[in-house]
Amino acid sequence: MPSLRQIRRKISSVKGTRRIMSAMKLISAVKLQRVQGLLLAFRPYSDAFSEIAKDLAFRCDPKWHPLLRRPQERKKLHVVFMTSDRGLCGSFNSNLIRRMETFLVIDAKAYEQVSFRFVGKRGRDHFRRQKVQVQVGEFVTAKSYIGVNERNFGPVAKEISSDLSREFAQGEVDEVILVYNYFKSALSQVITFERILPIEPEERLGDSRAIDYIYEPDREGVLNFVLPRYVETRVERALLESITSEHGARMTAMENATRNADEVIRKLTLLFNKTRQALITKELMDIVNGTEALRKGGVD
């Protein structure tokens, strides 16, 4: 049986950990609130851009703009993989990494080359450490971005998207997917594989190609404006979804951890009291036995 002192020390150490976790939970909650506001405001904007871009892809000839390119054969896949820099956020990163590994083993076989861009330390380190042995012709690791947060994601999105647009337009890649956690709620994040290029033409209901838009100043100007911004808003949106999800996941994970710590503290306190009680009983018995022995000795 552990001594009272040992138990007391253990309780105070769990209490210390609990304090840290509960503080992390509060910090995440505050950050979540802020970034969730940004995300909810940004969603309609990026959705509207996608709608217009898909509509244009439906109406326009792929020859009219390099970003409308529709490669016959999709050989070169590019993946933008978004995780967090730090852990302590439950299965936020591990689930995404696992799904990506499955994807690489199964779906990636169809491609000759898979290249990566990493946002976040966790995904980058994982795939670097594993030296991913992928059954594809060639595996290329490209750039990675560390320290992306709710304050600097805009410029990062700009940089990533302009690179992506250029690579796609020049035929260095045939397909681009974004892999990230979509923010459903603080309790639930949905793993998302989203193809952003080539742009999927989408027919709006009851619509036909025959009725084309009138473009001003001209079609080229409109395409030049919309298409790069489409890529940018998609990347920006995905980053924002990922950051929001991270805070949500961390808040939930820390809340659970705090609750578990409470349970451990409760059990340890119980053990402490039991041990103390047992000690007192033992001491009492010693005293009683002692006096009993003395008394008996006196009679004899």
Binding site: L38, P44, F49, I52, Y213, Y215, P217, V222, T233
Partner: protein
């Protein structure tokens, strides 16, 4: 044909307008234009300028920084990076800013791309100062 337009003005940080209106006036790249219900499908780039819409006889104005406008099936969608309510602008500050841009333009010797950017800034400053 509906007799109303559904106007949505969306920026990255908010849904500024989302309501039924009678008429929209917008600053196109090729000049200002008006949209009434029944307009043909139309997509245009916007220049910095004033977006005006009328609803039941009342008029509302916004200053925007350019963007894109789409009309389809009596739905008008305006996507812009930034809008500003004219009543929130201080005329004195706006005029000072305009002077600063004019000053910058006087000593200008950069590329044509920079000139384009500066012209844009000048136009916006003029609109904000109320003399655009």
């Amino acid at each position: 044909m509906a007799d109303k337009l559904w106007l949505r003005v969306i920026t990255p940080s908010s849904l500024v307008v989302d309501e039924e209106v009678d008429e929209v006036l917008a600053p196109g790249e090729l000049g200002e234009f008006g949209i009434l219900p029944g307009h043909v499908p139309f997509i245009t780039l916007l220049a910095p300028g004033e977006l005006i819409y009328r609803k039941d006889g009342t008029e509302k104005r916004f200053i925007l920084l350019g963007g894109i406008l789409e009309v389809k099936d009596d739905k008008v969608k305006v996507l812009t990076e930034f809008v500003e309510d004219p009543s929130s602008i201080d005329p004195a500050v706006a005029r000072k800013e305009l002077e600063a841009v004019m000053e910058e333009l006087k000593g200008f010797g950069g590329s044509s791309k920079e000139l384009k950017e500066l012209t844009r800034k000048l136009k916006l400053a003029q609109i904000r100062a109320g003399i655009g």
